[in-house]
Amino acid sequence: MTGPLDSPVLQVRDLHVQIAARHGTVRAVDGVSLEVNKGEAVGLVGESGSGKSMTLRAILGVLPPEAKITSGEILLDGVDLVKLPNHALNEIRGPKISMIFQEPMSALNPVMRVGYQIAEGPRVHRGYSKAKAAERAIELMRRVGIPDPERRFRAYPHEFSGGMRQRVMIAIALSCDPEIILCDEPTTALDVTIQDQILRLLAELCRDSGVSLIFVTHDLPVVAQLCQRVAVMYGGELVETGAVHEVLLDPRHPYTLGLVRSAPDVEHVRESLVPIPGSPPSLVSPPSGCRFHPRCAFVEEDCRVQPTPLRQLPGNRATACLHYERTEEALAADRIAP
């Protein structure tokens, strides 16, 4: 799946993020480990509240004030970001690691011309002169497909359409040549034709510039358009990881299977959708054993008690399910009677 030359740019090891709340401690991220290789796009999927956005924010060191990393390591080029003080993190945010948010309108400064917002990074981190930074900004705007960049340089965010604003966000993220870009649902607010354009742009950046991506989304097909590997999150934990096609088309965890079966697919019309019963677990007092067991159709006695860390399977994939064969069987039955 990954060549021998690939080395991980980013390694997250056993990350725990907890949020102090009135009714107890929310274990938002509970033992997540993740690796991203150079030029690779990794999808992180899950429902709202699964901890996927918290994982991203922890990596960038921009957690909300009540959230804390309680243990774990985040290694970027061998440096543990968890241990770094804030001023040292500022040196890393931009030149090494950057982020694209879901709502470009609320992430961009509404009263600053977009060109200056793009030029700010190179000015601060690279010490570029004003003129050189402006040149760089125009080059970046052209690179992300903003037409007429010389004129658009002086425009304000409100003068841009949603897709163009997201291109501005991407230009800002690229401005200091980072090694990895964290994407938090960057296409969710966009129309499908514009989403298609943005996904192609991101795929091209990965391919041509060797930048790595972590792409957070709740939309499984979007992951297939862009990513090579995917990690599925549920209740603050990873439940399945592997190559995109294997995980999405041939899952080994009942939760992944549930996500695939419950979403209508434009290419395969099924008689009725199969919803996942119940609702996501409380992260203050998560269920014992496998966190998915109260909603799982294949639950057995040991699922209720035994902890379920990710286990390696043949083919460089991993699942947290103790009885993943049941998912395989269910899939085989699905294929016979679609």
Binding site: M164, R200, A203, P221, A224, Q225, L249, R261, S272, P275
Partner: protein
């Protein structure tokens, strides 16, 4: 787009009778800009959100209206439900034109389910009082039977009778949407208009609401107009699909026909742009996005065909003539508003204009200024910057 002569709106119900709901030449516009400036200059600018829509809905049919944001699909739904006055056009219900000010009996016939169940339910009313009020105002059942009837409705949408005493905040998103559906159904409507009913919900919950809508339709013989941007949802639930672009319907067809044989270039692009589970990231030989550029501003619509600024097969004729909805050979119920939809137009095809922008690094220079547009010719390809 008021066209003379009888057009085949293609929505005759199974037994061949006239459609339940028939919309003819509907237009809805919004005044934009400062009212004061408009009064001084003595001119008001208008945004034509819906600009001449003809659409028939047969009894018991599930019709989908799809399109991107700004296409006017939600405005159309509001006008249909009587929540917004159209500028022009008429809405016929069972052959009778609905008056501009609808009686409460007419209001009752077309009910809506809104996108966001967090803002469409009154947070200060229990579900029971919400439903009872509707029953009282519309005299659906005698007051003595109201509670019984409400409980029946809540059971029908998959909530227990206990939901009567609960406030909206006590429900999850999916349950709230069930309450919203019960609120619409309690009036025994003939047509249910659902405007993006699942897009605010989590993936695993969407399925339950979609299944519910499908079941209700079968059980109650409900006529459904589903507004959505999600074509997968539409394919799953609807019999017929109408595609909207900038205030106009550009294609109408039975669902399977639309997906297997789209005729309008916009529909083709829209279908190609949907992320697919079995897809792979594009390689170096990537053909580029399915539809290029941004939609033009609805305040400055292109002359002629509205899609031509993003269309891969645009020809001079597209600027000269605004294409109308036409059918192909044989009455298949498939209509498209494109000069080339059914191969009928014998104009010599010019190579698509998108190739012009690819040639050099002078991005933006490829934008022809012949038409009053803003964001045309967006990102066909990215000039190689050699880094």
């Amino acid at each position: 787009m008021t066209n003379g002569g009888p057009t085949s709106h293609a929505a005759t119900s199974q037994d061949g009778t006239s459609p339940l709901l028939s919309v003819d030449g509907m237009a809805v516009s919004f005044a934009v800009g400062s009212r004061l400036a408009a009064r001084i200059k003595n001119e008001q600018r208008f945004l034509h959100a819906v600009d001449g829509v003809d659409l028939d809905i047969a009894k018991g049919e599930a019709l989908a209206l799809v399109g991107e944001s700004g296409s006017g699909k939600s405005t159309f739904a509001l006008a249909l439900a009587g929540l917004r006055q159209p500028d022009r056009g008429e809405i016929k219900f069972s052959g009778r034109t609905l008056p501009r000010n609808r009686s409460s009996a007419d209001q009752r016939r077309i009910q809506m389910v809104f996108q966001d169940p967090y803002s469409s339910l009154n947070p200060r009313l229990t579900v029971g009082s919400m439903l009872r009020e509707l029953i009282r105002v519309h005299h659906i059942v005698p007051p003595g039977q109201a509670d019984e009837y409400c409980k029946e409705m809540l059971t029908l949408v998959g909530l227990g009778p206990d939901a009567m005493k609960a406030f909206p905040r006590q429900f999850s998103g999916g349950q709230r949407q069930r309450v919203a559906i019960a609120r619409a159904l309690v009036l025994r409507p003939d047509v249910l208009v659902a405007d993006e009913p699942v897009s605010a919900l989590d993936v695993s919950v969407q399925a339950t609401v979609l299944n519910l809508l499908g079941d209700l339709r079968r059980e109650l013989g409900l006529t459904l107009l589903l507004i959505s941007h999600n074509l997968a949802v539409v394919r799953h639930l609807c019999d017929r699909v109408a595609v909207m672009y900038l205030g106009r319907i550009v294609e109408v067809a039975p669902t399977e026909q639309l997906f297997s044989d789209p005729r309008h270039p916009y529909t083709k692009g829209l279908l190609a742009a949907i992320p697919k589970l079995a897809a792979s990231p594009p390689g170096p030989d990537d053909q580029g996005p399915a539809v290029v550029g941004d939609p033009p501003s609805p305040l400055r619509l292109p002359v002629g065909c509205r899609f031509r600024t993003r269309c891969p097969i645009a020809q001079p004729i597209c600027e000269e003539q605004d294409p109308m909805l036409t059918t192909g050979a044989g009455d298949t119920g498939h209509e498209a508003a494109c000069h080339f939809a059914f191969g009928g137009y014998s104009h010599p095809l010019r190579p698509p204009p998108t190739t012009q922008g690819n040639s050099g690094a002078g991005a933006g220079a490829g934008v022809t200024d012949s038409a009053p547009l803003t964001d045309a010719a967006g990102a066909t390809s990215f000039p190689q910057q050699g880094d």
